[in-house]
Symmetry: C2
Subunit: 262 residues, 2 copies
């Protein structure tokens, strides 16, 4: 859970900030970040039982992009799914398993929206996919602190399960030299775990590409905001590895440079 960042976006109630911090500490997630928190909520939350240190270390950010810049996977939590269906929606159990795998190789951000509105469409555009806690259709919307507790619990469960499986496998090969655990489905190159690109790199690609598209007349001025969001989503669906992202960024920048020469 060291590689998990919990990102609260626009949280209003100090009790909820404190409750999220407490649940994180209960299950061993220690990195809390807040985007545009209500100043009061943020300051008053500092008293959460047992989570004072975690809250003292928590950082504030002006926007989602900055808050997730060093993460290689960004997952949004939602009660209803994406209204416009542009994001893959996973159940919490499947989601926690995937997050657990990714946390072995890099930072993962779990986004929680405001109590009233959840995550906005713009917030969602920074997410690779969405995750839903399986609540009843008749009463979907959970309290923020409780939703965070359930997510933290399930992430901890997924992690224990993976560790247990790895240990079982090792025990079965008794006598052999214990090998480091490799997540299923991953194909590590030259013995190393594959590293996914951090969001900062992906966003730099996005900016350069957008500018290039603008310059090339692909994007009309009127449709620019939509184009930017669409682009962000598309780049996230790629789930780029770090090395590939660097190469791509170089390519796009080169193209952009060329466009600017004309």
């Amino acid at each position: 859970m060291k590689n998990l960042c919990v990102v609260l976006v626009g949280t209003r109630n100090p009790l909820n900030v404190g409750a999220v911090a407490r649940a994180m500490s209960n299950f061993g997630a220690m990195e809390l970040r807040a985007v545009r928190p209500y100043e009061k909520a943020w300051r008053e939350a500092k008293s959460a039982v047992g989570a004072a240190e975690l809250l003292a270390r928590a950082k504030e950010f002006a926007n989602v992009a900055e808050a997730v810049a060093d993460c290689s996977l960004v997952v949004g939590t939602t009660a209803v799914g994406n209204r416009e269906m542009r994001h893959p929606l996973r159940g919490l159990e499947e989601g926690a398993r995937l997050i657990g795998k990714r946390m072995q190789a890099g930072r993962v951000a779990a986004l929680f929206g405001s109590e009233k509105w959840g995550l906005s469409n713009e917030d969602l555009s920074y997410c690779h996919w969405l995750m839903r806690i399986p609540t009843r259709v008749e009463h979907r919307s959970m309290n923020l602190g409780q939703a965070a507790a359930v997510v933290m619990y399930e992430l901890g469960r997924a992690e224990r399960k993976r560790t247990d499986n790895a240990e079982t496998q090792r025990a079965q090969r008794r006598g052999e030299k214990p090998a480091p655990f490799k997540p299923k489905g991953a194909a590590p190159k030259s013995g190393k775990r594959e590293e996914f690109a951090e969001m900062e790199t992906v966003d730099r690609i996005g900016e350069a590409l957008l500018e290039a598209l603008r310059k090339s007349g692909y994007i009309a001025v009127r449709g620019e905001a939509t184009a930017e969001e669409k682009l962000r989503r598309m780049l996230r669906r790629f789930s780029m590895e770090a090395a590939d992202a660097e190469v791509l960024l170089g390519m796009v920048r080169k193209i952009l440079w060329k466009l600017e020469q004309k």
Copy 2:
């Protein structure tokens, strides 16, 4: 989840009562009971988002025995385990699986203690076993509303898993007439599911037996309180079926009657 009763013992904070109600409603548990709630907490909780009906139907009890009288399994939740180690302690995942099985045949009570003290030794003596949410050793104690949310989530997960398994099994026997799902490990007699004894019956056995032991001089007056608790625990460890409990009750009463004749 229809057969689940959530029993709050000595809850002080109205926000927590409301939070528990909301989490119950999110995951489909609708029966809330309270033992000695702080009157204020109880009345002020009626505003929990989306759980007003559940709170309106909630019932108050003077003690744990009455609150769980119609349940055939009583499970205590704890952050630390039983200090005196007299109860079996199960992890939440295993506990939820067992509760799920038992809910098919009868009512199950899940007890949550007060925010400050948890469940007392006397409260615990009404429990068959205890269940612990796997929090970190460094920060074990959870917020009440969040603990309830995690337990409700895991119970829902266990239930879905069982249903899915049953459906998979049915699909595998495609073409055959679908059979009703039978829980593994249970050995139903004459086609019926085994029914476990309700706590009211078990308590009646306890009372009669205690009186019999008293009358027979087995119990010294000084040790009576301890003996009563020990007896309660022992009877719960038996996990009696309903029919057996009735028979046993008849036996003990007969013995008691005999003792009283002397």
